[in-house]
């Protein structure tokens, strides 16, 4: 984990949550720009998981290793599934589906920052 990158993920995921809620309130399905933006948040999340995994392979040992690995894997599948689920039926609720995924990524990154404490 890199703190600055984690904060960036939190910030961009938070913006995705707000954007999702805004399109829902506006009673519109998410547009192309929003879908691309959410894909961008996913890319950032993946970079974060790859770097963290590389650090673990490189010898870093967080206190709860298994839980940390679970989070690093789990966090990257949220947005792709939500993205397709949101597009499966495009309505005002698609934005909330994307917001839920963004909130999940945000919460999991906060948890990862806590988990990222060296063992011993």
């Amino acid at each position: 984990m890199i703190d600055a990158l984690a904060y960036a993920v939190i910030l961009f995921a938070g913006a995705a949550v707000i954007w999702g809620l805004v399109t829902s309130i506006a009673n519109k399905p998410p547009g192309k720009a929003q879908l691309l933006y959410v894909a961008g948040v996913e890319a950032l999340t993946m970079i974060q998981s790859i770097i963290a995994t590389a650090k673990i392979i490189g010898g870093f040992r967080p206190v709860e290793l298994a839980t940390t690995i679970g989070y690093l894997i789990g966090i990257v599948i949220l947005i792709p599934i939500a993205w397709f689920w949101a597009n499966g039926e495009r309505s005002r609720f698609s934005g909330i589906v994307l917001a839920v995924a963004g909130l999940g990524v945000l919460a999991m990154t906060l948890r990862l920052l806590v988990l990222w404490t060296p063992a011993g």
Partner: protein, 142 residues
């Protein structure tokens, strides 16, 4: 979760659980299915001997979330019956485990998603089955 948009032939008489606001319900259930499954797997694989009962309950919670997610996402007449059963068990589980964990914290040291009514997950585990039952009622056959 990424089931097709609609299956009119099997849902003619009932309103679909996987449409409209139901999409959001399925998304939230999906996140809990993922979280609970990951959590139970880690607990059972790495420290099962520490609290076997709590970790088996974790696995049960995970299974219920998976069943609820899939059945609500399918939205057929048969699947909503299964969803109803799963969500009733879920509600009973969160109330039972929640209460037990408050009365006897040592037996349930935050080991399941349902401990203290899901406090570790912003009490969403308590709200979710109520929302689920309300949604099944809302989409019932006329």
């Amino acid at each position: 979760m990424s089931d097709g948009p609609s299956r009119p032939e099997t849902t003619s008489a009932v309103r679909k659980t996987n449409s409209g606001a139901g999409r959001v319900l399925v998304a939230v259930y999906g996140i809990f299915a993922l979280a609970a499954t990951a959590r139970a797997s880690v607990q059972i694989l790495t420290k099962f001997h520490q609290a076997p009962l709590a970790y088996l309950l974790s696995a049960l919670a995970a299974l219920i979330y998976i069943v609820a997610t899939v059945t609500l996402a399918r939205g057929t007449r048969a699947s909503r019956r299964l969803a109803l059963v799963a969500i009733i068990i879920e509600l009973a589980g969160v109330i039972t485990i929640g209460t037990l964990s408050v009365l006897d914290p040592e037996a349930f040291p935050r080991a399941t998603v349902w401990s203290v009514y899901g406090i570790g997950y912003g009490f969403v585990p308590l709200v979710l089955p109520i929302w689920g039952l309300a949604w099944l009622w809302h989409t019932r056959a006329p």
